[in-house]
């Protein structure tokens, strides 16, 4: 055994000590509070998505004639197919929820402020990527929701002035949903967006490492409490516990509420009630409140404001006396999002 270690050691000159040094970023002590680990949760779920997604891709066929049948095969015939698919679906749901919670935590603790503006924007990109992966994901099943969701999505893009038509054509590979549309969604869902997300996550983590995690001080902490503790093994254990809890939660959700299949896509009939997945309820309700281009542009504006929030916030703090304006705006934003989501959820049309 020592011989083998030596053999490897000669060829990969990294000692355990060095390795520990490399990974052992000091972790701020406030991370002992569990809700601060929300950033690790989406990352963990992302890994679950990659693992289950690769498994599903072994059977999935991205063409209108075969997509629904292949998902049916996965759900009803392949061994454990229903389980893998259900875990994939539930992990997606949890991931989006975790990303949103993480972002809220960062927002309300002001962790986006100087010098962390860039990482906030990287995070925003990750949020958008996550939502896009979610959207392309449920479009792949080729059930009624997939087809009409994609159609509606493309037509929303179409209302954007100047570039709308171009975006729509890029999305659908044509003026309308056609035989080449699904493979686009598949490539976006399974290759382009995940790779982009891997790079963004790497950047996100790298920036954290460069700057160090924001440190917080809580009033109930004793004087002698140090500022940091070790990543390895202490924080790793925390993350492992989180991971296992998530896995248990996922398999419970997958067995109790397995992913079902809606009616297959029918380009001739729009279902009477058509709703996207829950995380688009906000946008969907917004689009119903305002019409056409105005709705799309206002939504774009909101996203733009969210992107630039660190700068807007610092401007407010510098120029006005409302130092805590961001908290109130945040509370208003969260209430608006919850309100619109619940509104969309409870009404039929």
């Amino acid at each position: 055994m020592p011989n083998v270690l030596n053999w490897v050691g000669e060829r990969l000159p990294v000692s355990g000590e060095q390795f520990r040094e490399l990974t052992n970023e000091p972790v701020p002590y406030h991370l002992k509070r569990w809700w601060f680990a929300l950033g690790g949760t989406p990352a963990y779920l992302f890994v679950v998505q990659i693992a289950t997604g690769i498994l599903l891709a072994f059977y999935y066929e991205a063409a209108p004639a075969t997509a629904y049948e292949s998902v049916r095969y996965i759900t009803h015939e392949a061994s454990f197919g229903w389980f893998i698919r259900s875990v994939h679906k539930w992990a997606a749901t949890l991931m989006i929820a975790a990303v949103i919670l993480h972002q809220m935590r960062v927002y309300f603790t002001g962790a986006y402020r100087k010098p962390r503006e860039i990482n906030w924007m990287v995070g925003m990109l990750l949020l958008i990527c996550t939502l896009m992966v979610g959207f392309t994901g449920y479009s792949l099943v080729y059930e009624q929701l997939s087809f009409w969701g994609a159609t509606v999505g493309a037509n929303i893009a179409d209302t954007v002035p100047v570039v709308g038509g171009f975006i729509k054509n890029m999305m659908l590979a044509g003026e309308t949903y056609n035989v080449r549309t699904l493979s686009r969604f598949f490539v976006l869902h399974a290759a382009v967006l995940p790779v982009a997300m891997v790079m963004l996550i790497a950047l996100h983590v790298m920036i954290i490492r460069l700057q160090g995690v924001t440190e917080f001080k809580f009033e109930d902490e004793g004087k002698g409490v140090p500022k940091t503790f070790n990543f390895f093994p202490d924080h790793l254990y925390t993350e492992l516990i989180m991971g296992l809890l998530l896995m248990i939660l996922l398999s419970a959700l997958a067995t109790i509420f397995p992913a079902a299949m809606g009616p297959p896509a029918d380009p001739l009939t729009t279902p009477e009630v058509i709703k996207p997945e829950w995380f688009f309820y906000v946008a969907f309700r917004w689009l119903k409140l305002f019409t056409g281009t105005a709705a799309v542009l206002s939504m774009g504006f909101i996203v733009f404001v969210m992107f630039g929030w660190p700068f807007i916030d610092s401007w407010i703090r510098r120029k006005t006396r409302f130092q805590e304006a961001s908290v109130w705006i945040g509370i208003f934003g969260v209430l608006a999002i919850i309100g619109l989501t619940v509104w969309e959820a409870v009404v039929r049309h």
Binding site: W34, L55, F58, G81, F229
Partner: protein, 213 residues
């Protein structure tokens, strides 16, 4: 959680042996837990990738036994595409009268043909030969003691059934490619082509007789 000890050695009142034991035991338990949980997930993933029901077999209807007389044969293609020679060799009235042999040579997968004059199956690829029971008699199959694979048959109510693999992709039923010497159900024209069949079957999946028809 806030009153955690950063260095277990500081706060522990236990002796060093006990501490060491605790550390080892908990590390082992943790490793076991992680291996058990993620290992099982890995197994499930592996099982998901392995084809579901790779060798599912089903009984398929072939023909009415009344259509066969001793010596008659037909060529049958199972639902998953394998070609099978079904021959009547006896007249006892049960499934043992019949023999169903794959027409695919076990050597390298060419299609064997029946040669009535030599009373043998002949494989054109490497001159392999088999007797009427499917045992290799010459060429590479004979040397290696290979046999043409046999398929189970049963007779139920005058109908002959064969047990063949069922592929999810394929139609759920097999088909008779070539009735040859077997008489068709009343009313159909009798198509006698003599025993033995077309080695070209493997080339394009179509029998010479089909094309003629």
């Amino acid at each position: 959680m806030a009153t955690d000890e950063r260095d277990p050695a500081d706060s522990s009142e236990d002796g060093p042996d006990r501490r060491k034991f605790l550390a080892t035991a908990s590390t082992t338990a943790m490793a076991a837990g992680l291996t058990g949980g993620y290992g099982a997930f890995g197994l499930i993933a592996g099982r998901f990738l392995y084809p579901a029901r790779p060798d599912e077999r089903q009984w398929q209807f072939v023909a009415e036994t009344g259509r066969f007389e001793t010596g008659d044969s037909l060529l049958y293609r199972g639902p998953s595409g394998e070609t099978i020679n079904v021959v009547r060799q006896g007249n006892a009235g049960g499934a043992e009268d019949f023999i169903a042999l794959s027409s695919t040579c076990p050597h390298l997968g060419c299609q064997v043909a029946w040669e009535a004059q030599n009373d043998r199956y002949f494989c054109p690829c490497h001159n392999g030969t088999f007797d009427a029971r499917g045992l290799g008699t010459g060429g590479p199959p004979g040397d290696a003691g290979m046999e043409l694979p046999r398929y189970p048959l049963k007779v139920d109510g005058g109908l002959l059934f064969i047990e063949v693999p069922v592929d999810q992709l394929a139609d759920k039923t097999g088909e008779i490619l070539d009735t040859r010497s077997v008489r068709p159900p009343a009313g159909e024209p009798l198509g006698i082509h003599g025993p033995g069949h077309d080695p070209c079957l493997a080339c394009d999946g179509q029998s010479r007789f089909d094309r003629k028809a």
